[in-house]
């Protein structure tokens, strides 16, 4: 008895995939900023993924992932109609959303999907949302149509200038911070270097900046401390104290180091999986 994949779409071929998974008990409670722990098979590893969207009536949650290791590679072999063995959630503290004025939501990579859910929450709360999404190139952008459906102010940045501003999201953000009067909050979700760069940009403007940390997790429910990070000099757990924190207080250097803890084993696992796939002609 698993969790059915009702929809699977390759957003960026070979890289980024979206799945809509049937998990009514999770969908019923999920809020922007929450994550789920997933497991593919009996021998699989539990991995955390941020909830990119949820549909309470259909009883589904949406996840978007980049193939970075064995588990995500194996997830890519699952088909529409197939099943996850385990889906657990919603976990983590939801995003703090209240009517606060203008909120800038910055997303990069698969983080755009998670950011989209938070941006939607802010719009529903009556906030003016300016969304900034970035990628290396136009064909690597995600969720732009979904975002623009509820957020009229969508700004795009691509490294090669194939769409929108040529350059980084931080440059667009800098311009917004300089021109807009009152920004209540900046929310940044994406690769660690991007979130770190966003925090550097917002710091001189003294704008509250929230980041969502993608630490390594084992249980996702506070039991192990694998996801611990230093925020304002204190050790906190991303799973129960976060995953969102005040970006100006996060020790990003430590986070980056901790994300690589299991690099050797991850490579070994991926290597084994690739060989098995070749053997089975997948």
């Amino acid at each position: 008895m698993g969790y059915k994949i009702v929809k699977k779409a390759e957003l960026i071929p070979g890289q980024t995939t979206m799945m809509v998974i049937e998990a009514p008990q999770v969908a019923k409670k999920a809020k922007p900023g929450n994550f789920v722990m997933l497991r593919v098979s009996e021998t699989g590893e539990r991995i955390p993924l941020t909830i990119a969207d949820c549909d309470r009536e259909a009883g589904t949650v949406t996840i978007v992932y980049l193939v970075v290791g064995k588990t995500t590679a194996e997830m890519n072999t699952l088909k529409e109609g197939g099943e996850f063995l385990d889906v657990c959630g919603p976990l983590g503290r939801p995003t703090h959303i209240e009517k606060s004025g203008t909120v800038v939501c910055v997303g990069g990579g698969t983080g755009i999907a998670a950011m989209h859910h938070i941006a939607k929450g802010h719009v529903e709360a009556g906030n003016r949302v300016i969304a900034i999404v970035g990628a290396r190139s136009k064909n690597l952008l995600l969720f732009c149509s979904e975002l623009s459906s509820f957020c009229p102010e969508l700004r795009i940045a691509t490294d090669d200038g194939s769409e929108g501003h040529k350059g980084f999201v931080t440059e667009v953000l800098q311009e917004i911070l300089e021109t807009e009067d009152e920004i209540a909050e900046v929310v940044a979700i994406g690769p660690v270097p991007m979130m770190e760069a966003v925090c550097r940009v917002t710091l001189p403007f003294k704008v509250k900046t929230t980041v969502s940390l993608n630490s390594i997790m084992v249980d996702g429910i506070g039991m192990c401390g694998a996801c611990r990070c230093t925020v304002g000099g204190k050790t906190l757990f991303a799973c129960v104290d976060g995953p969102e924190f005040d970006g100006h207080k996060v020790d990003f250097a430590e986070l980056r180091t901790r994300l690589w803890q299991f690099r050797e084993q991850e490579e070994e696992s991926m290597e084994k999986f690739s060989q098995e796939c070749q053997c089975h002609g997948r």
Binding site: R46, L85, C224, G225, T235, V240
Partner: protein, 471 residues
């Protein structure tokens, strides 16, 4: 039966073990269990006291004299039935209970000689009974059919406390649903206690027994997130038992603690036990394989982590403890096993600093030499720093096993639940009822980290009260 006058009292029948040198490199069970002959010899040592004290020492009140008597009469089924009357998890308790402080600590024989090996006999009865596949007999659905299907009870968490509640109430005809946050039921019995002390097949068998009694297990349901206590009452449950365990690992607050290579014992054990990291890469969950491992703390969890590290091919494993071996909170048997297997004890040392290399990986730690001072609040001698005396230990992995604090998930979702000043759930010591009517709690979320059997004792008290109200 032993003739008190004529017979010289025999010593305890030794427990067969895997040899230390061999077992330190495998995850097979360390204690192999009595044979039938050994069990009968040991059972005959029991004096069958008129007023047995052993039973008073048992948190779940097993009729020890009764089951040993049945064993002497070669009535295995009878012995099992007697144990199961008050204990839902005999194969587990026979392995992990600290009997020396409980039943065996009260045994009259123990005053002058060695006490009867009650725990080993309990394990023998459970294992032998299971091996005969006789469980069908006692868990036959016809005899255990739901008699009050209109009354149902929810347990949050599936560790020893909840399993006890489930076993007790399902055996009396109530419908019990257990909600577990992880993907596998059993709680600490699955993620915490290693395979070599408590094989997962033993836990699975006990859980299968409960399923046959009609208990339903829902995995991936997080109490306070996926489902709240209020949700459960809205869904028609008549009572809720909260047994969510101890929760968050404590860290030391020492510089360098977040270096790569420093883990909580909970993380390390969860990876190896729940994630089966000992079988990586056949199982996907990895665990760090340190060559020189230091374990901070000296409780049962520290012993489990140290012995696991040995089995994960560590070249050296050292337990660093602020007091002396005498004060170690772990069971003597666990300390002995660890030392036999090659774990080094570095006593009167406190952690001061973790050193990393330029890539943020642990390479050494500094410890402060201590001496014992005056007894503190806990009654144990307090460790006192010896100024200026420090030592550096080379290590590429450190495991922190200094206890836990309450997991906030369910508590934050249930603000009306009253807490103790330590942040655990306040529950009536007799009935285990919390500040919310018909919500009961027991185990580590009430007491803080304790033993499997004390959690089961609380489960039994809660279940008895629930049964009184619902039946």
């Amino acid at each position: 039966m032993a003739d008190k006058k004529s017979k010289k009292v025999r010593g305890r029948t030794p427990m067969p073990h895997q040899e230390a040198a061999e077992r330190a490199h495998n995850f097979g069970e360390v204690a192999l269990g009595y044979s039938r002959e050994q069990a009968l010899i040991e059972a005959e040592r029991c004096l069958q006291c008129k007023k047995p004290l052993c039973r008073e020492g048992c948190p779940v009140n097993i009729d020890i004299k009764g089951f040993i008597g049945a064993l002497v009469d070669d009535d295995l089924h009878g012995a099992y039935d007697i144990i199961r009357k008050t204990n839902s998890l005999p194969a587990v308790c026979g392995r992990v209970c600290p009997q020396e402080n409980q039943c065996e600590g009260m045994c009259v024989l123990g005053k002058k000689h060695e006490p009867v090996a009650i725990g080993r006999l309990e394990r023998y009865v459970a294992d032998a009974f299971m091996a005969e596949s006789a469980c069908e007999e006692v868990t036959d659905l016809d005899t255990c059919a739901l008699t009050r299907a209109d009354r149902k009870v929810a347990c949050i968490g599936s560790g020893p406390a909840s399993l006890t509640v489930a076993g007790y109430l399902a055996g009396r005809g109530l419908k019990v649903d257990v909600y577990e946050a992880l993907h596998e039921p059993g709680g600490v019995l699955i993620y915490g206690i290693p395979e070599f002390r408590l094989p997962k097949t033993v836990v699975a068998r006990e859980i299968d027994g409960l399923k046959k009694l009609g208990v339903t297990f829902h995995t991936n349901w997080v109490g306070g997130r996926t489902i709240t206590i209020q949700d459960l009452f809205e869904q028609g449950y008549d009572a809720v038992f909260v047994g969510v365990g101890a929760g968050l690992p404590r860290f030391l607050g020492v510089p360098g603690e977040n270096l790569v290579g420093v883990f909580s014992a909970n993380e390390y054990l969860t990876r190896v036990n729940l994630g089966r990291a000992y079988d990586f890469p056949n199982h996907d969950t990895p665990a760090y394989r340190g060559r020189h491992v230091v374990v901070l703390g000296a409780g049962n969890v520290a012993m489990d982590a140290a012995r696991t590290a040995l089995r994960m091919d560590a070249k050296s494993v050292t337990i660093v403890y602020r007091r002396t071996e005498e004060e170690m909170p772990a069971r003597k048997e666990e300390i002995t096993h660890a030392v036999e297997e090659g774990v080094r004890l570095s006593c009167l040392c406190g952690p001061v600093l973790f050193h990393g290399d330029n890539q943020g990986r642990l390479k050494a730690m500094t410890v402060q030499k201590m001496r014992l001072g005056e007894p503190d609040d806990s009654g144990r001698c307090a460790p006192v720093c010896i100024e200026g005396e420090t030592e550096q230990l080379k290590c590429d992995m450190a495991i922190i096993a200094v206890g836990t604090r309450p997991n906030p998930i369910l508590l934050e979702a249930t603000p009306e639940l009253e807490l103790t000043r330590w942040g655990y759930i306040a529950a009536d010591p007799e009935t285990c009822e919390t500040s919310i009517p018909n919500v009961f709690a027991g185990g580590d979320i009430v007491t803080g980290a304790a033993t499997v059997i004390s959690a089961m004792g609380a489960g039994r008290r809660a279940a008895a009260e629930i049964a009184k109200r619902l039946l």
